[in-house]
Amino acid sequence: MGNALLQVKNLKKSYGDHQVLNGINFKINPGMIVGLLGPNGCGKTSMIKSIVGLINDYEGEILIEGEHPGVESKKAIAYLPEKNYLPAWMTPKSAIKYMADFYENFNKEKAYSMLKAFDLPENQKIKTMSKGMQEKVQLLLVMSREAKLYILDEPLGGVDPVARDFIMETIMKNRFENSSILLSTHLIYDIEGILDRVLMIKGGELEVDTDVKNVIDHNMTVEDLFKEVFRNVF
């Protein structure tokens, strides 16, 4: 566990009296694909927002390549939020230009080839696109980054099974070499096969932090483990 790419130490976050994260600890090493699992409202997004620098009033420590979230960590992390974050007036072309302006590790050629592969019009305003098209634009912007860590918050939420396969294929095909992925979802079945490690959050606490290999060694699937951990939650 020598040089962790991401290290989270005793992370606590509350909104008023409501404690959403209560002493989370884990590490992600380079090259790992980690599933962040848990039901809606368990604190996954709050944790991700703390890692990417959107939430700063947390307790504990977050280290990305040994440094606190800041300009350098933002260069290393490519983040795909649940929300549509692009301005309505932007087109895929102007969004690519925007990202290329700010991120040195943004690969423009890759972005245009993905745009073509996704069959997206480069000059259509994003606000006039369907939700699925908008999600594809955001995905290609993230996956065109030659990042060290991809943080994908519910990339499979609200899409049909065929689209889920397409998204997962895009992620796996386009990730930068030896990069890590932290993927938050509650659709375990679709990602089970690609995960190296799983983190499960329950009631703001890290309930499970284990290699997928260990789960398989116990004659279980990740989905079985998930059901066992969250049986009483629903």
Binding site: G16, K49, V71, L86, D101, F102
Partner: protein, 276 residues
Amino acid sequence: MFSKVLKHDFISTGRIMGVIYLIVAGITAVTLGSHYLKKGEEMAVGEALGVAALLLVSMCMFILTAVVVLTDFHKSLYGERGYLTFTLPVKSWKILLSKVLVSTIWFVIALAALFGSMWVTVVVLKEEVLGENYDTIMGLISQFSTVKISSFVASVVAKIIVFFVEFAFFTVTIFFTSTLANTRLFQKRSVLWTIVLFIPIAVVTVKLAEFINERLVFSIFFVDDKIKLVTDNFEYQSLLLNNNGIDIGELFVYFILGAGIFVATHYIMSKKINIK
């Protein structure tokens, strides 16, 4: 990287501001076109409507600018676009500073547009409509021909600096209010709270500035083509009536207060806000 933030802030706000200025340019062209192409002495309909529309739009320019910059500020930082803005590899104070600078420049341009529209009005209405006022205006303008060019340039540059600092102070106050309105306490009705909180915050900051200014006389006046530093209140009051001057003390107070509000805004923005 800061220049890129500035560039994209100009692009983001310029899309709407550009359309507004295109309209202003269009009205100006129609007004001046009607004026120079008219036959006879009677005022053309195009001229009259043009002048009225131009003055109206120019006077509304400040409100339009305020609405555009505030909307852009709110959406790009505290709306869903905040997910993009705050994950850019740029220090958050630079993001805020860029927004203040770009917005201030739009306010200065709005002021220039107002002066421009007043000039068009003078040209079009001339003496038959403005009467004695026309002579007064022309008299004021002709005074500039007797002033040394260096003094004139210095005076204009100084005035631009004054306007810039005062507009920057106004901008940062609006942004502070919007930021406060996006904290947990007010977040559910952030737009409404921005409007409600702005009035008391603006009153308090302006009163505070006035309070300090009354106790700090430190001004520059352009007297007989020379720069004169004034620190005496009596001299200040007498020169204020007749000469072109800049209240450096006031400028300094606005600058320091503005910087303080900027720091407070940045603190709340980076430490106390959770984007929805």
